[in-house]
C-alpha cells in the first residue's frame, strides 16, 4: 500500500477545513484529493455500491470484511451514513436490557446540578443555534451514564462528546446513550475522565516525548515561551478535539478513532496538529484558536502528511525504551506505547493491516 493511501484517514481529517474556507489547494494535493478522498457524492456512491454487494447489514460488513470497511472509511464516510457506520464499528448497538435506559434515568446520582449547567452551554461551543433541542437529551444521557458507571460519574468534558454524538445521531437520545457507553467502555474513553486522569496523563506524556523527538523546534519554542502542554492538550484530549476544531473536521477525526485506530491515535493526531502551528511569538494564542491556524495554512496539510509518517516511525523506536522502563517498574501504569494498542495505532499509521 502506498504512503499516500495509508495516511488518507489522517489527511481527510483536515480536508473539511479546506472545503469550509475554500482554500487554494497545493497542486500535488489536489491530485491526491481527486484520487483518494472523495467528495460527498463520491463517498455516497462508493458506500452504496459496497453495501449493495453486501446484502447483510453494515455491522456484518464491518465484522466480516474489515479490509473493505477500512478502505471505505479511508475514502470518507458520507454524512448521512456516519451514525450507522459508527454504530457498526462499535459492534452494533447494544441497547441493554429492555427499559434499562429508562431505569437509569430515574435514579439520582448527585451529578444533576453540574450536568444541567453544562448541558445548556455545550451547544454554544458546537455553534448550534437551537441549543434547546438537544440540551435536554444531553442532560438525560449524562445523568443516565453517571448511574450506569458510578465510578466515573460525570466529568466536565464528557458533555462535548455527548453533544457531538447527538448532532451526528440527529437527536436519537437512547441510541446516543448506548453509543456513548460503548465509546467509554470499548474504546476506553472512560480512562480519560477517571479520577486522577490516568489515561490523560499517559497521553500527555506520550505527546511530550513525541514532540521532543519529531518536532524539536516546536518543543523548544514551547518551553521558551513558557507554554505548558496542559494549556491546550487537556481540552484537545478531554473533548476529543470538539473544543478546538470545526465540527466537520472533528467528525472525520472521530471516524479515524472510532472506526480504525482507536483512542491512542489522539497522540499522533495532536502532534500533527501542533505542527500546523507556526513557530512564533503568537504560539500560545494560536494553540487556542486552531481553527484559524489550520485553515490559514494550506501548506500545513502537506506537513501533516509527512509528519504523521515520521510519528509512526518514531513510535517504534520509543517503544523499546518504554517497554524496558515498564519492566523495571512493574507498578508503573500501562503505557500508551504498550505493544497491543501501540501496534494498532501504528498499523493504521503505516497502512498495514487494520485491527
Amino acid at each position: 500500500m502506498s504512503e499516500g493511501c495509508c495516511l488518507a484517514p489522517l489527511f481527510s481529517a483536515l480536508l473539511p477545513l479546506q472545503r469550509l474556507v475554500a482554500l487554494p489547494v497545493p497542486s500535488a494535493l489536489k491530485t491526491w484529493e481527486k484520487e483518494e478522498a472523495l467528495d460527498e457524492a463520491g463517498r455516497v456512491r462508493k458506500w452504496s455500491s459496497a453495501l449493495s454487494e453486501c446484502p447483510e447489514s453494515l455491522v456484518s460488513l464491518c465484522k466480516d470484511q474489515p479490509g473493505l470497511f477500512k478502505e471505505l472509511v479511508e475514502a470518507g464516510v458520507p454524512s448521512d451514513l456516519r451514525w450507522e457506520v459508527w454504530k457498526a464499528a462499535l459492534g452494533g448497538l447494544r441497547c441493554g436490557q429492555g427499559g434499562q435506559y429508562q431505569e437509569l434515568l430515574q435514579r439520582h446520582s448527585g451529578w444533576e446540578p453540574l450536568i444541567e449547567k453544562d448541558s445548556a452551554r455545550t451547544f454554544l461551543v458546537l455553534s448550534v443555534d437551537d441549543m434547546g433541542m438537544h440540551a435536554h437529551c444531553l442532560q438525560n444521557i449524562c445523568k443516565a451514564y453517571a448511574n450506569l458507571n458510578p465510578e466515573i460519574g460525570y466529568c466536565q468534558g464528557m458533555n462535548f462528546i455527548v453533544g457531538l454524538l447527538l448532532l451526528v445521531s440527529d437527536g436519537a437520545e437512547e441510541e446516543t446513550f448506548w453509543v456513548f457507553a460503548a465509546l467509554m467502555h470499548d474504546l476506553e474513553l472512560s480512562g480519560l475522565y477517571a479520577g486522577g486522569f490516568p489515561l490523560l496523563r499517559r497521553y500527555m506524556d506520550g505527546f511530550g516525548q513525541l514532540i521532543a523527538a519529531v518536532l524539536p523546534r516546536h518543543s523548544l519554542r514551547l518551553q521558551a515561551e513558557d507554554i505548558h502542554l496542559e494549556e491546550f492538550l487537556q481540552s484537545w484530549y478531554l473533548s476529543l478535539f470538539v473544543t478546538c476544531l470545526p465540527k466537520a473536521a472533528v467528525v472525520e477525526v472521530w471516524d479515524e478513532i472510532i472506526c480504525l485506530s482507536g483512542l491512542p491515535s489522539l497522540v499522533p493526531l495532536s502532534v500533527a496538529l501542533l505542527e500546523c502551528v507556526p513557530i512564533d511569538s503568537q504560539m500560545r494564542v494560536k494553540l487556542k484558536s486552531l481553527n484559524e491556524v489550520v485553515a490559514s495554512k494550506a501548506c500545513a496539510i502537506a506537513q501533516f502528511l509527512r509528519r504523521s509518517l515520521t510519528v509512526g516511525t518514531l513510535e517504534l523506536s520509543t517503544r523499546d525504551a518504554e517497554v524496558s522502563r515498564m519492566q523495571a517498574s512493574p507498578e508503573a501504569p500501562q503505557s500508551i506505547w504498550d505493544v497491543s494498542k501501540h501496534s494498532t495505532a501504528l498499523a493504521v499509521m503505516r497502512g498495514a493491516a487494520g485491527r
Partner: protein, 207 residues
C-alpha cells in the same frame, strides 16, 4: 497603555473556586473587557496574561491560570498552584455551598502555592442580587468576617456588569507587590529583618 512585555515583575496568579462560580467570566472580563462568546466549563487549565502599571509607576505582568472548578480536576490543576504568588478565590453569592468550599480551597492554596500567597476572596454575581435581593444567599458581612479572620483580601464583584473586576486584580497585584517587595528587602538586608517588617506596606510601592 503599556507594552505587554515591558514589565518590572512577573506574578503568577491562579483563579480557583467551585464549578460555575464564574472564574472564566471574571478572567475574560479582566483580560478582554467582554464575556466569553461561548461560555463553557473550563477543561483543565486556561491561561492569560495582562500587564498593568501599579500606582507608583512600576509595571507588573500578571500570568493568570484559570482552573477547572470540578473537584475531580484538582488532581491535574493543583500542580499549577506551584510558584503562584496570588490567587483569586471565587464564590457565587447566590450559592452558599460555593462559599462554604472556600475554606478548603484556601487550605489547598496555602499548602501547594508559595507560603505567603496573597489571596483575594471574590463574591461574584452581585448583579443577580442587585436585580433581585432575594437571590443573595451569602451575606457581605459574613464573607468579610471570614476574609479578615483568614487574612484574605475581599471584594464583591460582577463579571457580567464588570463591577469591581479590575479593582479585585489591582488590589491583589498591589498587595503581592508589597509582600514580595517586603521579602526582597529582607533578603537584601539580612541583618536588618525586624526593622523592615515594621514598615507600612502603603509606602513600599515605589519603584
Amino acid at each position: 497603555m503599556i507594552g505587554e512585555e515591558d514589565y518590572d515583575h512577573l506574578y503568577k496568579l491562579v483563579l480557583v473556586g467551585d464549578a460555575t462560580v464564574g472564574k472564566t467570566h471574571i478572567l475574560s472580563r479582566y483580560i478582554k473587557g467582554t464575556l466569553p462568546k461561548a461560555p463553557t466549563a473550563t477543561i483543565g487549565v486556561e491561561f492569560a496574561t495582562r500587564t498593568v502599571s501599579l500606582d507608583a509607576g512600576c509595571a507588573v505582568k500578571a500570568q493568570i491560570w484559570d482552573t477547572a472548578g470540578q473537584e475531580r480536576y484538582r488532581a491535574i490543576t493543583s500542580a499549577h498552584y506551584r510558584r503562584a504568588v496570588g490567587a483569586l478565590l471565587v464564590y457565587d453569592i447566590t450559592k452558599p455551598a460555593t462559599f462554604k468550599s472556600c475554606q478548603r480551597w484556601m487550605e489547598e492554596l496555602r499548602s501547594n502555592a508559595e507560603p505567603d500567597i496573597v489571596i483575594m476572596l471574590v463574591g461574584n454575581k452581585v448583579d443577580l442580587a442587585e436585580k433581585n435581593p432575594g437571590d443573595r444567599q451569602v451575606d457581605f458581612d459574613a464573607a468579610a468576617d471570614f476574609a479578615s479572620q483568614q487574612g484574605l483580601l475581599f471584594e464583591e464583584a460582577s463579571a457580567v456588569t464588570g463591577a469591581n473586576i479590575k479593582l479585585c486584580f489591582d488590589k491583589l497585584l498591589k498587595e503581592i507587590y508589597n509582600t514580595t517587595q517586603h521579602r526582597r528587602d529582607r533578603e537584601d538586608d539580612p541583618t536588618n529583618n525586624f526593622q523592615l517588617q515594621g514598615r507600612s506596606s502603603q509606602t513600599e510601592c515605589a519603584c
